[in-house]
């Protein structure tokens, strides 16, 4: 990449280069809908170091995407409102920045990749236009120069014949290629943090692997922090350093990847791991978690997971929800019975 990509527009007031690229502290988001208030995110916290990959794992509707959107500042508001917490970029609370400043953080410092590249790319503009737009609007480049950069980016993400394809429309690309375009777009301005929201869900397994490999490679090259949002434990195992497991808007377990896979400390995490079909267990019924996640407008008191939990006791059904217990120096779990869960195996 050419050098001037690293030229940031202007310094953000209060940036501490030594602080972590991203810290989320006790984030609360709610959606005010006709059917009542949905508590989508209820006190999520996590840190991200440079070069680190943090996976946020959870089922649909657990609040992981909302968390990502809140970090990016692209929540649909209304109905979504951030009701509490901090999102710190190198020590600066993004939630306190005026919109004009906040905007400059996006794509420049924190960028995002979306799940479905087909719908996430504007169907009526060429990918070249959509890539070049970044350089034109953030770097003030001419159309021509920006186009050159767009081609470079497509090259970077290994799209063949980039100089021709730059004039194609999103629907003319295959799924995997589209996702590469998405990645190129996210990396264009050389951000320090990349949030990838289910980047491979819509893709074939083989393509999934290629994309993940590409992401990993680019991350390594640039020493980027990566927040990987996914429901796919297989993906997580390969690339993540640390994992936050979310359920009903809360982080219910946070640990290094190996710890989680080896000894889950929360019944939900455990259930997830058990629901992975394994060749060596062929013929056995998958022990999926019984029941459905709660409606976010009506989260049960106490531990949100209690109706589905085989460990649940009376204490779990009463407020307050279980705190994050320190399971080991580097991991936490929000279960009163984490010891039993962990030692159960």
């Amino acid at each position: 990449m050419s050098t001037d990509v690293n030229v940031k527009l202007e310094a953000l007031a209060g940036v501490d280069p030594n602080a972590l690229p991203l810290q989320v502290k006790d984030l609360h988001v709610e959606f005010r809908t006709r059917n009542g208030i949905a508590h989508a995110v209820n006190g999520v916290s996590f840190d991200l170091r440079a070069g680190e990959t943090r996976a946020i794992l959870g089922e649909s509707g657990c609040g992981k995407s909302v968390t990502a959107q809140a970090i990016m500042g692209i929540l649909d508001s209304p109905p979504g409102f951030i009701t509490g917490g901090e999102i710190l970029y190198r020590g600066v609370d993004l939630l306190k920045l005026p919109e004009s400043e906040r905007r400059k953080v996006r794509a420049n410092r924190i960028a995002m990749i979306f799940q479905d590249a087909l719908s996430a790319l504007n169907p009526v503009f060429t990918v070249g236009f959509q890539l070049a737009e970044l350089f034109r609007k953030h770097r003030g480049m001419s159309r021509k120069d920006a186009k050159v950069r767009a081609v470079e980016l497509l090259d970077l993400v290994k799209i063949p014949a980039a100089s021709q394809r730059v004039n194609d429309y999103p629907h003319q690309f295959s799924g995997g290629m589209r996702q590469r375009v998405m990645i190129a777009m996210a990396l264009a301005l050389d951000p320090e943090v990349l949030i990838a929201d289910e980047p491979t869900t819509a893709l074939d397994v083989t393509v999934q692997a290629q994309i993940m490999a590409l992401l990993a490679e680019l991350q390594r090259e640039r020493n980027m922090g990566l927040v990987l949002i996914t429901h796919d434990m297989g993906v997580v195992a390969d690339v993540a350093d640390r994992i936050s497991v979310m359920y009903a808007g809360r982080v219910i377990e946070e640990a290094g990847v190996n710890d989680i896979y080896a000894t889950p400390a929360h019944p939900y995490t455990k259930g997830l791991l058990e629901s992975i079909p394994r060749l060596d267990l062929k013929g056995h019924e998958l022990s999926a978690i019984k029941g459905l996640p709660p409606a976010l407008t009506n989260i049960p008191p106490g531990c949100a997971f209690n109706p589905r939990c085989r460990y649940a006791q009376d204490v779990c059904r009463k407020d307050p929800a279980p705190p994050l217990y320190q399971v080991s120096p580097n991991r936490t779990a929000a279960c009163h019975f984490w010891k039993e869960v962990k030692g159960d195996e």
Partner: protein
Amino acid sequence: MGRYVIRRLLQFIPTVLGTMFLLHYMTALAIQFSGNPVRALFGDRTPPPALLQAITERLGYGDPCLDQRGNPCFGLFADRLQNIFFHFDFGINLRQREVTDLVADAIPFTLKLLVIAILFEAVVGIAAGVLAGLRGGSFADYLVKISTVFVISVPIFVLGVVVREFVGVKFGNVLRGQDWIPDVISSGMFSPVFKPDYPMASLIIPGMVLGATSLAVTARLTRTSIMENIRADYVRTARAKGLTNKRVIGVHTLRNSLIPVITFLGVDIGAAMAGAVVTETIFNVPGIGRLVTMSARTGESSVVVGVVTMLVLVVLVANLLVDLLYAVLDPRIRYE
């Protein structure tokens, strides 16, 4: 793109022929079932048969197939097609004027009226729709929603007559009483009816009345479209790209949202021409619409069918252009 255009053109031909046959058959049936329209020319006086005969022949109502009820008169249809495509002859009216002449006289007025109407509905309609769509649930949204529904439900002729009497006559007379108001406003724009002295100014209000219903539809369509698109993933992407709100809305949302609106506006040219039937009659605009009304009221089906055939050709061409425009606006269509 090329293949798309060719395919679309190929589809165009049967549509044109089909539509024209439909109109032709309607006229034939009309004459077969309700008699020679020439008779009405003479009113209460019974014309000498020779005279009736002569005029009938001249108007081309003499073909024997017109005496057989239900006969589709393919021969006449072939003649008619020949006349239209080789001689550009759409027939004559009962006063023996060429329909093409009638239309040529009338079309400039209708075109001006249409331009005003479409401009009005596009500008105001899209603006109102965007305003309402961006602030769904707000007061502005509510206002746009209610007022558009109201405009749609009031019959256009009631609206037209009320506007003519209250804005053109009552309010206009007040303005005309004020010396400081320039004539172009007081007796041009606020003339209750079309005025040859102010051919443009006196069409503004009729044009607005004509555009009113479609304006409401445009606003509603824009509103819905914006509301749909504003939640689209690619708009979220655009935001995530750190673009200004202006650009997110103005470029990424609007471009997509306006595709159905522009399509509607294109198709609406036809509807507006039809609407001109009412508006032009009320405001005495000597355009196509008034021509159709007058001919319909006198039962001159020859003119009605001739003019409508011509209009339908215009509409079909407009639809074709809209489809092609649609393909330009939305690349997904082009490559299907």
